[in-house]
């Protein structure tokens, strides 16, 4: 029996797989994704399992593929997604695949090393080029100073101050070192030079204007050319050491201007040659990568599949005596035929079709996983339910009910047709553009949350439009769709005289009014749908809507809780816990009916019997409920006197029954357990002769012995929780009213404080002002009313379902069914990430 109200029936299966066929069988099952394997060697280390070598080989391939992929991405080539889902390759194909990948990896690495060497050479030469051209200017500056001096003077004796002349005088030779250093190090470098050489050096520097690549790291950095002039060998050593320490690249720089020019020329030609070679290498690399980029995705998928298969096979039991693998798995009942077919297909494709694999159903006392058949519409709602706890196996799944009640409760709190319309349009856009949007912004967490819940949002929006119409709220304004039932028929004199006037349905009744002043203003037929728009103009709108919404909230809440309790009856019946019906379900339901359903009846009674004329005498139901608990029936004020004859008797009886329910629920289940145990003990003494049975039974009994005290405690907690819960949960449903009030008030404030400014001005200015205030009004509407209020209403609706509704029947102690499926595995790590 498959039903949407419960999870699928699962079977525990044992698969006997031929070693040759196992691989292809698992591959078939992976494509189908219908079985969940159980790990049969939980105590074996991951590196001591049977197929650890294969897994390792796959990891090695994955590493190489990752390398190739990153190289492709570095060159900004597009990766082609495979058109079709490639099959998992056969084990022998794996070797070929390995070879191909290995070859490519090797080739690319070789190209890279070559390119790196060339590039380093190129970068060094570039630096040298800059070095030469920059130093050229230093020397030229010096040259100008030196005008008039003899030609054989050393060109590097370039100082501008008196040091120069003294050098010339003593005939000593100034040495220099030139090089390139990264710009951020130059300050430390200069300071260090100064300290170490005690100021006896002269540093000239010039920034290289554009970014150049560092020969060692290959990063683009700012660099500076420097020349250090010094005197003597010792200083030279030091300067060189400092250069080394600061990772400056030293380049030779000839002393003679002509030599420099020649060197520069040489460098230029070599650079050009290198450029050609580099371009060729780059082309070669591009060709290889382009070829790879076409198939790499397919390979990645293949390797991942192989890895998944071996990973699964590592969980199998290896029966050496019978030469087969034994696997244990969960599979839905409905899929067993598919499973068998897949195994047969797998055995055939592996070529060893002579002995096919065997599926053996086994009995187990383990709890099966919970598997709900879902579609894209129900998925989101199931997620809401599962976030609380995955349903116990075959327990009533609240999802189909939540599907409707969740958006409804949300809408009760969010009730505004205008806001609902915006939400629905947004959700509708997501739903219609589903296929194209699915692939977009996958990594944006907030977006994926919205997108995952698009159907929930759609329903929430549609329901909000409905409740908005009931509340007659559209952006806090009312719509007069069907024509209000009220007419203002005062003459101008009366209207001018007072700030506000009373509209009364039947003015002749009242003494203080005269018929000529107050004519009949109520048409006699109520407004067709929801609240009459005339309330929008009234001073006591909030008082009126509060009273109505509060009662709505109570009615909805109590009905939902009752429904929850009734669902628990369904659970009891399904699990054949017939005692649960009498020990739990009945007292719970009776309690709820006696007090809370009675309250609802009173609400409807009040609505239907009390008219406008006797509004002041209408009973206050809150006081009545309190009085019912206190068993007091006062004679005044009129709002708390009795509503109907025999009220006292009925209420006392109801209260009595409700109170009886408490010990009933507290005691019934433990007593039942005790009686059952005693019965079995009696039974045990009769069947004592069977020794083996006896031991078993005793073991069983020992368990029960411990359980007994736990049963008492548990039932005590359960009882207290339920009865107190009924009261607090009912009060908790008042949040439906509170949030709806807050939402309505907030949107009204937004309207009157912001948009109203524009609308209340006259003439052209009013038009401009309206234009100006529309922006803040609309953005605040979206951010505060739609997003924030929507989120808060969403969370409150969620809470009402988890705590108030599901606590009545839902255990949520199951664990989800996670089938072995290539699709899931590939989705888990999308190739884009």
């Amino acid at each position: 029996m498959t039903t949407i109200f419960r999870s699928e029936q699962m079977t525990s299966c044992q698969l006997y797989l031929q070693p040759d066929a196992a691989y292809s069988c698992i591959a078939e099952l992976g494509e189908l994704g219908i079985v969940q394997f159980r790990d049969l060697n939980p105590n074996v280390n991951s590196f001591q399992r049977k197929f650890v070598n294969e897994v390792r080989r796959c990891e090695e391939m994955e590493r190489k593929l990752r390398f190739l992929e990153s190289e492709i991405k570095k060159d900004e080539l597009t990766l082609y997604d495979p058109d079709e889902n490639p099959d998992a390759p056969k084990p022998r194909e794996m070797i070929d695949l390995e070879a191909i990948i290995d070859k490519l990896d090797h080739e690319l690495k070789e190209i890279n090393t070559n390119a790196d060497a060339l590039l380093r050479n190129f970068n060094e030469l570039t630096e040298l080029k800059h070095n030469l051209s920059m130093t050229q200017t230093f020397f030229q500056d010096a040259q100008q100073v030196r005008i008039g001096l003899s030609e054989n003077a050393h060109e590097q004796n370039v100082d501008i101050d008196d040091q120069y002349s003294s050098t010339m005088a003593t005939g000593m030779k100034l040495g220099f070192v030139s090089g390139v250093i990264s710009r951020e190090r130059i300050i430390g470098f200069e300071r260090m030079l100064w300290r170490v050489c005690r100021g006896n050096v002269f540093l000239k520097q010039a920034d290289i204007p554009d970014l150049i690549e560092d020969p060692l790291t290959g990063e683009k950095v700012h660099k500076t050319v420097f020349v250090v002039f010094f005197q003597g060998e010792q200083l030279k050593n030091r300067v060189q050491k400092i250069c080394e320490g600061f990772r400056a690249n030293i380049y030779p720089c000839p002393e003679n201007a002509n030599e420099r020019r020649e060197l520069a020329m040489g460098v230029m030609t070599r650079l050009e040659d290198l450029n050609i070679v580099l371009r060729q290498t780059h082309d070669h690399r591009q060709r290889v990568l382009l070829e790879t980029s076409k198939t790499i995705r397919t390979w990645i998928i293949k390797v991942r599949k192989i890895k998944a298969i071996y990973h699964t096979m590592n969980m199998f039991n290896n029966d050496i005596a019978r030469k087969c693998f034994i696997a244990e798995c969960w599979t839905p009942n409905s899929q067993i035929d598919t499973l068998q077919l897949a195994l047969r297909k797998g055995s055939e494709s592996s070529g060893s079709g002579s002995i096919s694999s065997v599926v053996n159903r086994i009995e187990t006392n383990q709890q099966p996983p919970t598997h709900n058949k879902l579609n894209k519409f129900t998925q989101g709602f199931q997620n809401l339910v599962d976030a609380y706890g995955v349903a116990t196996y075959r327990e009533i799944n609240p999802m189909p009910f939540v599907l409707i009640t969740f958006p409804f409760l949300f809408a009760v709190m969010f009730g505004d047709a205008g806001h609902g319309l915006i939400v629905s349009i947004f959700a509708l856009w997501m739903v219609i553009k589903e296929n194209t949007l699915k692939k977009k912004w996958r990594t944006q967490e907030v977006w994926t949350i919205f997108f995952g819940g698009r159907y929930i949002i759609l329903l929430m929006g549609l329901f909000s439009i409905y409740t908005g119409l009931i509340y007659n709220d559209v952006f806090s304004k009312s719509l007069n769709l069907f024509g209000s039932s009220w007419r203002v028929k005062f003459d101008d004199k009366t209207l001018l005289k007072s700030d506000s006037v009373f509209l009364e349905p039947n003015p002749t009744i009242y003494n203080h009014t005269t018929p000529d002043q107050y004519r009949q203003m109520y048409s006699g037929n109520p407004y067709l749908l929801g609240i009459d728009p005339v309330w929008q103009l009234s001073d006591n709108k909030i008082t009126f809507t509060n009273s109505a919404k509060m009662k709505f909230a109570i009615i909805i809440g109590i009905i939902q809780m009752c429904f929850g309790v009734i669902l628990s009856l369904w659970n009891h019946l399904h699990f054949k816990h017939y005692h649960g019906i009498f020990a739990e379900f009945l007292p719970q339901l009776i309690f709820l009916v006696c007090i809370f359903i009675y309250l609802i009846i009173l609400i409807f009674y009040k609505w239907s019997t009390y008219q406008g004329k006797d509004a002041t005498d209408a009973p206050s139901l809150l006081i009545h409920l309190i009085n019912m608990m206190l068993l007091s029936y006062p004679d005044s004020p009129p709002s708390s006197t009795k509503i109907y004859n025999g009220q006292r008797g009925v209420q006392t009886a109801l209260l009595l029954i409700a109170v009886i329910c408490i010990p009933w629920m507290l005691l019934a289940k433990p007593i039942y357990t005790i009686i059952k145990r005693r019965k079995r003990n009696n039974h045990l003494t009769v069947t004592n002769p069977l020794a083996s049975n006896d031991i078993e039974m005793k073991n069983h009994n020992a368990d029960e012995e411990i359980d007994m005290s736990e049963v008492w405690v548990e039932q005590g907690i359960h009882t207290i929780e339920y009865f107190l819960g009924c009261i607090s949960h009912t009060a908790s449903y008042l949040r439906l009213w509170a949030l709806s009030l807050a939402h309505a008030q907030l949107s009204e404030v937004l309207w009157s404080m912001i948009f109203h400014i524009g609308l209340s001005m006259n003439g052209y200015i009013g038009g401009i002002a309206s234009f100006m205030v529309f922006m803040p009004w609309s953005s605040l509407t979206i951010f505060i009313l739609l997003l924030m209020e929507g989120l808060s209403a969403f969370l409150h609706a969620l809470r009402l379902h988890w705590v108030e509704f599901q606590s009545k029947f839902y255990k949520g102690e199951g664990y989800p069914f996670v089938p072995f499926s290539f699709k899931l595995i590939l989705e888990e790590t999308p190739p884009d990430s």
Binding site: N45, S46, F47, Q48, V52, R56, E59, E60, E62, R63, R66, F67, R185, G188, R191, M192, R195, V196, R238, K241, I242, E244, G245, F246, R247
Partner: protein, 349 residues
């Protein structure tokens, strides 16, 4: 009390991060699995299932111990630097203080390296990244401690520690060790005082750890100096004075000249007595160094028992370093097929 109230304002995030990192430290069961590994590949496979994740996944086979070591260190440095980047004062100063110890080690490493005629290019990669500073590479310029100070160290935070060493004349092997010890002594005392000024729980926790560190140095200096020609006075100058041994124990240590003498001194301090009693020099016994390490781990673990203090950052770094040493030890044992001593790691949990 006030500090506790406002601690989370500035340092709550960093503390949370650090405690999160700490929960990734390998457990006894992880070590149990690690020592069962047959090859380094197994080791990689197992480390994958721990907090290390696939930090080795992009390394080509065959794996070497050096690669593992580099990656481990890289990971630790990354974590520490992240903590440093998100820290506020005074936590950032505290974290900087921790790095000074690595600077000292790096300086000494470079000087000894150049004494042995190694190229600076080979030495620099071996320096600990936490203790690297701009002028580090130029250390080879210096021939005398004075030069070292004026040229290199004067701009670094280590400068004040170095003043005591300037008198040394040459940079030979013994002097380098003396420089290291003097620097370390000054550093420890400074760090100790800094923690004192921070006050509160930080002071309580850190002073305990640093006092032990100081005592350990005093013990080790004494034990290692027996046949080196270091005079008693010279030796005494190197003892950090912020430990529990100060002043009486240090005086005693100054006078001893045998291992047994050291043991006698330690016997007066219950916490050290146990350590010396548990150690031995025979094969199979734990060395006193291992015992010290174990005690250090214990102190660092205790730091995590209290909240609202900086000690956990120090403790985390030290524990993680110990863990790295453990992994490397196990990896070495596996690589050299020397499995008999594989259990000699120091468990943290």
């Amino acid at each position: 009390m006030k500090d506790d109230l406002f601690f989370n304002l500035d340092h709550g995030y960093a503390e949370g991060l650090c405690r999160g990192f700490k929960s990734g430290i390998l457990k006894a069961s992880d070590y149990h699995n690690l020592v069962q590994c047959e090859t380094l590949e197994d080791l990689r496979l197992h480390l994958q299932s721990t907090d290390y994740g696939n930090f080795l996944a992009n390394e080509a086979s065959p794996l070497t111990v050096n690669v593992i070591d580099d990656r481990l260190r890289e990971k630790l440095v990354q974590e520490f630097q992240h903590l440093r980047n998100v820290s506020y004062q005074p936590l950032s100063t505290f974290l900087d203080y921790i790095t000074y110890a690595y600077m000292i080690d790096n300086i000494v490493l470079l000087i000894t390296g150049t004494l042995h005629q190694r190229a600076i290019g080979d030495l620099l990669p071996r320096c600990h990244p936490l203790g690297s500073f701009e002028q580090l590479g130029a250390i080879t310029v210096a021939d005398t401690p004075a030069q070292l100070y004026t040229a290199v160290l004067v701009d670094t935070p280590l400068a004040p520690y170095f003043i005591d060493c300037i008198s040394e004349h040459d940079l030979d092997e013994l002097n380098v060790e003396i420089i290291r010890s003097t620097l370390y002594k000054a550093y420890l005392e400074d760090f100790y005082n800094f923690c004192k000024t921070l006050g509160g729980i930080t002071a309580e926790v850190m002073c305990e750890i640093l006092a032990f560190e100081a005592d350990r140095r005093a013990f080790m200096i004494t034990i290692n100096s027996f046949d080196t020609g270091l005079t008693q006075d010279e030796r005494a100058k190197l003892y950090p004075t912020c430990g529990h041994l100060n002043p009486d124990g240090l005086q005693e240590l100054r006078r001893t000249d045998s291992y047994d003498g050291v043991r006698d001194v330690a016997a007066r301090y219950p916490q050290y007595k146990v350590l010396f009693e548990g150690s031995g020099t025979n094969t199979g016994d734990k060395t006193i160094e291992d015992k010290f390490f174990e005690y250090e781990v214990k102190l660092n673990m205790n730091a995590f028992l209290r909240q609202f203090h900086f000690g956990i950052f120090y403790a985390y770094l030290k524990l993680k370093e110990q863990e790295n040493r453990n992994i490397i030890w196990i990896a070495e044992c596996i690589a050299q097929k020397h499995r008999t001593r594989i259990d000699n790691y120091i468990p943290i949990f």
